[in-house]
């Protein structure tokens, strides 16, 4: 099956193999290159390993059947992640351009794919850096003992704590009130909360200084930002395993529930996670591999990166769940101790009569002897399973669950500093790829004058992004981040990935790609890659996209709100979005998704108009010549 759409003029737009070798020898073009292979691999690893590996994958793993979730995850990693990864690496290395340049070289009508990638990278960079700003705030606040989220502030007359803190918890209060000063709905903007502005400034200046010279500066920065998370995870693994209750957490994580494998949502979530985890369709990977030498072995790189990402995800999940297990055990024991104290106070029993081992028996005995007293007491139900599953995803994991666990560890400030430093490095290394995926396309699209240096472009991008990020510095910023997280980084990436595969396989041609890889690496990719590229991977991405759209369209748009005045407080309340959120969602998800076809259409119309204009001019010129 050699289905390839006609693509005239391709050979004029791209350098052929001899040109590539010549360019390589002459080192012409002034294009940057990696100092060594390690820098390249570290940058790609840093880009792929991000905050999602710490706070999304462990949650998915645990909620979709524990150890059994690894099966769909690994299968889809091989079927969907690796082929797309090799595709992006090969195209970047072959065509030696950023994302816009690559798609424009393949066919000028496909430039829309590059533009869509750029838009998605920019929108994701905005809210991602806000998360990093929050992480920086916690990092700055970790240099004190006791940690500020370990204590509640007192109320006015000093006899008790502030009710909002009393009813929820110290960590909840610190996150929602002190850090963010959240309002009760997304419509209530509440003004700017200046500590977040300060942290956003810090975050964007760090990004600016690291990206200011392109890969020559990020290449140095990744030595720290890509390696430090592994070191810190190792330290936390050792610390976590020595804590009480860690094995409960690990067992909870990996207990396989094979019935989950039959659920389609498990496979969908696994597929989506693989897609986002690899940073596919953001344009950053194409850009990074374009700085490689022409004969770099990109096939090997794709396999290495896939293996590293999978292993890191599992590693991070283990560490996360040791800490979650520790926290759940602490809370459970506190709950039981509280109940024991209530019992012995109510019945004036000696202290050692009721212990954790005979608690259940004594409770039953007392319930039988005094059936009317027990219900009036404040006996709380202590559910270990509930404690293990609460708040273990997203920002809740880092800022609530982990911070609470850290306050219970001896030497809390050190652990807090290490943890937030690790999160900071994880987020920063992903942002390098994002900024690369924004600045290089801007350069290719000639948005700025040609003689402006790279530093100026990066600087302007960071300043503009900082100003737009002030949207998240409002008191309702938390809800805005959730909107961006749900919509900016989901559907557009899937559509761009699908278009990428169709473009390369059916417009550029798989035969040409095979020949390119043979030229660059020395051997043609095996039948496995052929089948994946042509059929399996596009199909999987298409199915995930369709299912995602269908489920989104069917469900009402709701979001969770922190409302101290509601009855369900301290649980988050589920409220409906206002109607104007649909316009926002269209901007975030719709515009990048339709950028590709819209650009192609506009270009078609423009070309038709220009050609008919030229024909008219020519015919009138010919007429003028004839008459003369």
């Amino acid at each position: 099956m050699r289905l390839v759409l006609p693509n005239p003029g391709l050979d004029l737009r791209i350098p052929n193999h001899e040109d590539l070798d010549r360019i390589e020898k002459e080192e012409a073009g002034g294009r940057q290159k990696w100092d060594n292979k390690a820098q390249y691999i570290l940058t790609c690893v840093g880009f792929c390993i991000g905050l999602g590996n710490v706070w999304r994958f462990p949650y998915l793993c645990q909620s979709h059947g524990g150890g059994a979730f690894l099966i769909p995850y690994l299968i889809l990693l091989v079927l969907e992640g690796m082929p797309l990864l090799l595709l992006e690496f090969a195209m970047g290395q072959r065509l030696r351009k950023g994302s816009v340049g690559v798609w424009r070289s393949i066919n000028p009508y496909l430039t829309g794919i590059g533009i869509a990638s750029m838009l998605v990278s920019f929108l994701v960079a905005l809210y991602y850096n806000t998360l990093i700003a929050w992480i920086l705030w916690y990092l700055f606040n970790s240099f004190q003992s006791p940690l500020p989220w370990a204590q509640c502030p007192l109320n006015d007359n000093g006899t008790g704590f502030i009710p909002e803190c009393e009813q929820s918890s110290t960590v909840d209060y610190f996150f929602y009130r002190v850090t963010l000063n959240t309002t009760a709905s997304i419509e209530d903007s509440g003004g700017i909360h200046w500590p977040i502005v300060v942290c956003l400034l810090a975050a964007w200046t760090v990004v600016a200084i690291c990206c200011i010279r392109g890969i020559s500066s990020t290449g140095k920065a990744v030595y720290v930002t890509a390696i430090l998370p592994y070191v810190v995870l190792g330290i936390f693994l050792v610390r976590g395993l020595t804590l009480k209750g860690s094995w409960t957490g690990i067992k909870f994580l990996f207990t396989p529930d094979v019935n989950e494998l039959i659920e389609p949502t498990t496979w969908l979530d696994a597929g989506a996670q693989v897609f986002y985890a690899f940073g596919l369709a953001w344009g950053g990977l194409i850009s990074f591999s374009s700085y490689n030498p022409v004969h770099n072995n990109c096939v090997q790189d794709a396999v290495i990166l896939s293996v590293v990402t999978a292993l890191t995800s599992v590693y991070a999940a283990v560490v996360t769940y040791t800490i979650i297990g520790f926290r759940a055990t602490e809370k459970y024991e506190n709950c039981i101790s509280g109940n024991i104290m209530t019992l012995i106070n109510a019945f004036d029993l000696p202290e050692n009569n009721v212990t954790t081992s005979n608690y259940e028996a004594m409770l039953g005995h007392l319930n039988n002897t005094y059936p009317d007293v027990i219900p009036r007491l404040d006996i709380r139900t202590c559910d270990m399973h509930k404690l293990l599953s609460e708040g273990v995803e997203g920002t809740g994991l880092a800022f609530i669950v982990f911070t609470e666990a850290i306050t219970n560890m001896p030497g809390s400030p050190i652990w807090s500093v290490l943890f937030f430093l690790m999160l900071f490095c994880l987020g920063l290394s992903t942002l390098f790829g994002n900024i690369e995926g924004v600045v290089v396309p801007l350069k290719d699209l000639k948005v700025f004058p040609k003689n402006w240096p790279h530093e100026a472009l990066t600087g302007i991008t960071c300043v503009v992004a900082f100003i737009i990020c002030l949207l998240f510095a409002q008191r309702s910023g938390f809800y805005w981040v959730t909107v961006f997280d749900s919509f900016a980084g989901s559907v557009p990436l899937l559509t761009v990935g699908l278009f990428e595969m169709i473009a390369v396989v059916y417009i550029y041609g798989v035969d040409r790609l095979n020949a390119d890889i043979k030229f660059m690496v020395g051997y043609k990719p095996s039948i496995f890659w052929q089948v994946m590229w042509r059929v399996v991977s596009p199909l999987i991405v298409f199915i995930i996209l369709v299912f995602y759209l269908v489920t989104q369209a069917q469900s009402q748009l709701r979001y969770l709100v922190w409302d101290p005045n509601s009855e369900e407080f301290p649980s988050l309340v589920s409220s409906l979005y206002p109607t104007w959120i649909n316009a926002v969602i269209f901007l975030l998800a719709g515009v990048p998704s339709i950028a590709t076809p819209v650009y192609a259409l506009c270009r078609l119309v423009y070309v038709r108009l220009m050609t008919s204009y030229v024909i008219i001019i020519n015919s009138s010129a010919v007429k003028a010549q004839i008459t003369v």
């Binding site: 705030w137 990092l139 700055f140 606040n141 240099f143 004190q144 006791p146 204590q151 509640c152 502030p153 007192l154 000093g158 006899t159 008790g160 704590f161 300060v198 942290c199 400034l201 810090a202 200046t205 760090v206 600016a208 200084i209 200011i212 010279r213 500066s217 104290m341 012995i344 106070n345 004036d348 029993l349 000696p350 202290e351 050692n352 240096p453 530093e455």
Partner: protein
């Protein structure tokens, strides 16, 4: 006579016992959690410890309610349980049948809470006076928030770094343009000194500087 004094003493103690009862209007319940606080080092609660409690409380009353000299007999204890909890009331030193108002007792305990706790090696949580909320310790606060300091250090380093990087790239670019200018100038002179393909050695480069 002995009989009378004995009878009076009996009446007095009976009255005192009547003054102190659970849910007494001016009395308080005390709860000690020795094993929770001290674990294996916990002492057993006995009459001596109770004596210490009464004397500590008498001390607290004396300190707070100035002018009145409270004695140990003014602290009446009853209803001891194995939990270790008991009720107590405070009688007025002038009139042993009259109870001291609870707000006076509460103020006395609040003032000397730390001393009472220390006498028993306990804390606010493990030595409970039911109904008297302990004044909570104010959370630690700093004049300059520590986070501002860390932020200042970080921003200082970054701004210095940005300035250094920008300055070095500007210097590099100036050096490159100067070098290309020099190369162009050298080529120019080389072209000028060639005459029919032969270099004119007598033409020296310094003449370039004297040109108008």
């Amino acid at each position: 006579m002995w009989k009378n004094t004995f009878f009076l003493f009996f009446i007095l103690s009976a009255c005192a016992e009547e003054l102190c009862k659970p849910d007494a209007s001016n009395g308080y319940k005390v709860r000690l959690s020795l094993k929770t606080a001290l674990g294996d080092d916990a002492y057993t609660w006995n009459k001596n410890e109770m004596f210490l409690f009464q004397s500590t409380l008498a001390f607290a009353m004396r300190t707070s309610h100035t002018g009145q000299s409270y004695e140990i007999s003014n602290i009446v204890v009853c209803n001891e349980t194995d939990r270790v909890s008991f009720w107590f009331v405070v009688t007025s030193p002038g009139n042993p049948t009259e109870l001291v108002e609870n707000y006076i007792v509460e103020e006395a305990i609040r003032k000397s809470r730390h001393r009472i706790n220390s006498a028993f090696l306990l804390t606010d949580k493990t030595l409970e006076f039911v109904g008297i909320l302990p004044t909570l310790a104010t959370p630690v606060s700093y004049d300059t928030p520590p986070w501002l300091i860390v932020f200042g250090v970080l921003m200082g380093i970054i701004v210095a770094g940005i300035i250094v990087l920008l300055a070095s790239s500007i210097v590099k670019r100036k050096r490159k343009t100067r070098r290309t200018d020099e190369e162009e100038a050298d080529e120019e002179t080389r072209v000028k000194t060639m005459d029919n393909g032969v270099y004119n050695m007598s033409f020296s480069v310094e003449d370039k500087l004297t040109q108008m």
